[in-house]
């Protein structure tokens, strides 16, 4: 909050975090996170549970409010508008508009169970963007085809397996044409044999140049698809860099002991 012109020099960065703090009461979950994500970059966030990686992800689309530091997406502060030297908190409507540009995929899928797969995917475009129903449905069918579920258009979420549900959830997020995709442990709730299909979809997405932040325990995916791996522990970034280097030759003891447990 010290930089008087936050728009300057952020042209190529999709996400920029400086000293981000977050606390629940006395429990400090994020203790000053610095991180940048360039356009088209795939950043994988790894770390033990409780390290704050999911919380940080949720701060990016303002599902959580940060208590300190500065967080900007695409050159604009999250949750605030800077006017002169003052920060004005955004109205609900403005927050919603910002969120609509960022896709999010949850560990527990969170599809709307009372709506068909097609309606799940068109819900954002039709209700939020006020797009016409016909073209939105065509687009939804294309997206379903892309995630390999063209035949599930009229199914309801609980008629699908976990892996299928997660791919629908990805299609639902993509229907909003997001400039950034956030994945919060997208494969952690899946049976092992279903993980591959979801990762394939994410790999394709990365190949198409989507900017992605992925909280994951899939080290293979992080190494293969990630441009950067960030290891978080205890609310701080311990180590970050090229996936192969971080995962095979970690510089910190904490990274080493974590990787020894998961690899």
């Amino acid at each position: 909050m010290t930089d008087p012109s936050p728009g300057a020099g952020r042209g190529r960065l999709m996400v920029e975090a400086r000293g981000v703090h977050k606390a629940y009461g006395r429990l400090e979950v994020l203790k000053g996170i610095d991180m940048t994500v360039a356009r088209g970059e795939v950043l994988c966030l790894i770390g033990p549970s409780g390290s704050g990686k999911s919380t940080f992800l949720r701060c990016i689309n303002h599902l959580e409010k940060i208590d300190g530091g500065e967080l900007a997406v695409d050159g604009e502060l999250v949750g605030y508008r800077q006017v002169g030297h003052r920060l004005h908190e955004l109205k609900d409507k403005e927050v919603c508009a910002k969120r609509a540009e960022i896709g999010m995929v949850f560990q527990r899928f969170n599809l709307f169970p009372h709506m068909s797969v097609l309606d799940n995917i068109t819900s954002g475009p039709v209700w939020v963007r006020k797009a016409a129903t016909g073209p939105s449905r065509d687009r939804a069918r294309d997206l379903l085809d892309r995630v390999g579920l063209a035949d599930k258009v009229d199914s309801y979420p609980n008629q699908l397996s976990g892996g299928q549900q997660q791919r629908v959830a990805i299609a639902r997020a993509l229907a909003m044409d997001p400039k950034l995709m956030l994945f919060d442990e997208p494969t952690s709730a899946l049976d092992p044999e279903l993980v591959g299909d979801v990762l394939d979809v994410m790999r394709d997405l990365a190949g198409e140049g989507m900017t992605m932040i992925v909280v994951t325990h899939e080290m293979g995916f992080a190494r293969e698809v990630g441009d950067t791996v960030v290891f978080m522990d205890g609310g701080v970034v311990v180590e970050q860099g090229d996936p192969t280097r971080v995962l095979t030759d970690p510089q910190h003891d904490r990274t080493r002991s974590f990787l020894a447990k998961v690899l």
């Binding site: 689309n61 919603c96 960022i102 896709g103 999010m104 949850f106 969170n110 709307f112 009372h114 209700w127």
Partner: protein, 317 residues
């Protein structure tokens, strides 16, 4: 080897007792006679029941009962939703005032409330004024002409029902997984849109059964308007029996009509529940009607479906 099934002798005893009681009931309802005032007549006087079942005053009473039920339930549901949202609001004044409302209306008997609206309002305020608070009056009305027994009944029942409905709606709203709110928010949906399109439709599954209960209860509670000189179904039958002293047959008339409408509501509730169960179970069981038509078709053509042909084969990736 021969399998000897377990015998259940007490079931046979219980069945015999029940059959005996049913026989006694049917006998006393239909076949027993009694001498009243020197003439021998059927104990339950079904002819009298039949004579008054569709009498004009009774039908008028039914209209009043149904009108009050519908008004009170519709208003009650609306008040209930508003109160539930207020109670879940982070604003203490909003949640607090909703709490006070519920505390007051659940804490006093509805009979007292009805009497209050009918008698109390006209006593406290001879004139009701519509206008700027503490300022100019635009319309002034006489309380006694405005608050008829019907208005007082509808008002009292609605306000009371709102308090109960709000707790039912609140239970429904908090039963919906928090992840649904987050998913909706991440798509850019506003809180209002999320509530309307995502949370409430799912909350309906929890809200509908107790609301059906409330509606059935309301149908019968409307009979309380008889104490504030409202002429509902019950009061209509009372008026007739006050004139001709046929007390029991007219109670039977009222009971038959109440039973008829509660039965209709029970069926309606069943189908509404099915509507909101979409997506909650993999395959809904057939309705009794579907089962009946299926059974009829079955006896005609007898295509026995093999187990593997069942349409609900569990999905797998």
């Amino acid at each position: 080897m021969k399998v000897v099934p377990v015998r259940h002798p007490w079931r046979w005893v219980a069945s015999a007792v029940i059959l005996l009681l049913v026989a006694m009931l049917v006998n006393t309802l239909l076949f027993s006679h009694v001498v009243r005032g020197g003439t021998r007549e059927g104990r339950f006087q079904w002819a009298v029941v039949g004579h008054y079942l569709f009498a004009t005053p009774v039908l008028r009473g039914i209209v009043v009962t149904l009108e009050l039920t519908v008004i009170a339930m519709v208003a009650g549901v609306i008040i209930g939703i508003v109160l539930a949202i207020m109670r879940l609001s982070p604003n203490r004044l909003l949640s607090g005032s909703a709490w006070v409302y519920i505390w007051f209306f659940r804490g006093t008997p509805v009979l007292v409330q009805l009497t209050f609206w009918y008698v109390g309002i006209s006593y406290l305020y001879q004139h009701l004024t519509l206008g700027v608070p503490f300022g100019t009056a635009l319309v002034t009305l006489n309380s006694t002409t405005l608050v008829t027994s019907f208005v007082a009944g509808a008002l009292g029942l609605s306000l009371n029902e709102g308090a109960y409905m709000s707790e039912i709606v609140r239970a429904g709203i908090i039963s919906v997984d928090e992840g649904q709110n987050e998913a909706a928010a991440s798509l850019g949906m506003s809180k209002g849109l999320t509530l309307r399109r995502i949370v409430l439709p799912q909350a309906m599954r929890i809200i509908i059964p107790p609301t059906g209960n409330e509606t059935i209860s309301m149908l019968k509670t409307t009979s309380l308007v008889s104490v504030i000189s409202g002429v509902d179904l019950f009061q209509a039958t009372q008026n007739i029996s006050n004139a001709n002293y046929e007390v029991v047959p007219l109670l039977v008339v009222a009971s038959l009509w109440y039973l008829f409408f509660t039965s209709v509501m029970t069926i309606g509730q069943y189908y509404i529940e099915r509507h909101y169960a979409r997506g909650s179970s993999r395959q809904l069981p057939p309705t009794p009607l579907q089962r009946l038509t299926a059974a009829l078709r079955h006896t005609r053509t007898r295509p026995v479906p093999a187990l593997s042909e069942a349409p609900w084969v569990a999905p797998h990736d």
